[in-house]
Amino acid sequence: MTTTLTRAARRRPPSTTPPPRRRRTSWWPYLLIAPTVLATGFLLLYPLARNVLISVQEFGLPQLVRGDARFVGLANYAGVLGDPEFWAVVRRTLVFTAINVVLIMVLSTSVALLLVRLGKWARLLVMSGLVLVWATPVIAATTVFQWLFQSRLGVVNWALVELGFDGYRDYAWFADGPATFAILVALIVWQSVPFAALSLYAAMVTIPSDLYEAARMDGAGAWRVFSAITFPVLRAMFGLITCLEVIWVVKAFVQIWVISQGGPGRATTTLPVYAFQVAQSLQRYDLGAAVSMLMVLLLVLALLAYFRQMYRQEELS
């Protein structure tokens, strides 16, 4: 990190620094950011510190009531890491995240490429549909999916039976682990594609058309054009959106909690659900805090590469 910093600083000749905007040093900027910094300190850093504290204490319901928690060092972490259940949850979270993010990225890239090629009216129609999905609140969408996949009256089962899959008559999706998992994937992908597709479309429109014309003159096919021009030019954009989707999918809680509460069995218990279950139903706030710290750690590790790249961009801009 430091080497990048100094290298960037050295590389930039003095003349290309952005024009100084107004007074160079005064206390104004600090006054302007003070509320944001204070709010972040009290409402983000303090709870985070508190979470670290709880995770190294013995903190159950009695301690919550009496407030006499004692320190137990890393015992909670040892307990969590030594529990095979936790590792099963981590594996499930990784699989869940991978399936969702791959589907989201492939589908939204396809939709964005389609949008670029559509005529004005068709594009407006598809975009309106996407915006409608985007505007659907999570809880409403979750309830609707429960209704679509309802066993007796659900329209999905009806359609499957009509198509000849007779086994789906009155099929109880939410009683089966993999089926519930699949519905959650469908729900999250459905909700996530609009943002990713519209952002990618907005970025694709900015690519100069002569790049494409040159490629077409050279006789490049659609896939070649995508892999040689669209993707490389928008690499940063693809990176940013993938990272955002990873974060959103890993921390998805409401959909899972409302539809299945992590069940049936443990089929849909991902990390946030697990942390909540441990804290809420077992009243082991200490273990819950340790699990959520490990989740943050996992996310940070996964996104480290992206943070570095972002920091470098901030340096150069």
Partner: protein
Amino acid sequence: MTGRVSTGRALRGVAAAVVFVVSVFPVYWMVLTAFKPTRDIQAATPTFLPLSLTFEHFGTAVSAQGFWSFWRNSVVVAGGAVLLSLAVALLAAFAVARLRWKGRRGFILMVFVAQMTPWEALLIPIYVIARDTGMLDTLWMLTLVYFMITLPFTVVTLRGFLAAIPVDLEEAALVDGCSRAQAFRRVVFPLLAPGLLATSLFGFITAWNEFAFANVLIIKNQDDRTLPVWLSSFSNTFGTDWGATMAASTLFMLPVLLVFLVLQGRVTTGIVGGAVKG
């Protein structure tokens, strides 16, 4: 050659239709169910067009216990959080987009990191802090939490919008004898209005949607619950009454949808622009 071109065109048309139907169908099905008489909902063969409509389910949803107070709670909490974060973020966005100062990059990095925080991981400490400060079961606590959840995003997006407004305009106003505050109010603010709208709508959706904290922080005082929590318990209580559940869901998404449709063009370009720049 023409043959190939028109096949491509037809394929694109089909693809567009598929994307449109898959996006819209769940929402269409929700609204349609909400208006269908119960006998049509329970029919063996579903009907896809509105044959006979009823407002009965909306009546059930609206007259369910506490509906109006939960509605009001949600509006107050989400609206309060958005106004608070707009005010705070506008100051910070101005400092970042317009002024140069030591520590600016560090501040930007802090905001980015805050934006990526998995909030659900902080349920337990925030619950404990709320309890220790006597803020448990208050809408104030919820407003503060939502304010913090929307703040980083608001700073990043407003910074994007502000940066897009040329500094020259402001400087011209200064030369014309405006004070800096006047220049901001008369020149920058009107240009920033669409950005403020887009940003506040997105913040509003986030707060309007939030379930986990509302579910954990408001326990004893059931009258202070918000709509998402109400809706999830509603679909449990009325689990078999799908008409009423879908009517409740429709009422829940209505305000967001209305604002979104009114502002559609601006919001989409604005948020996407913010994301691209952010």
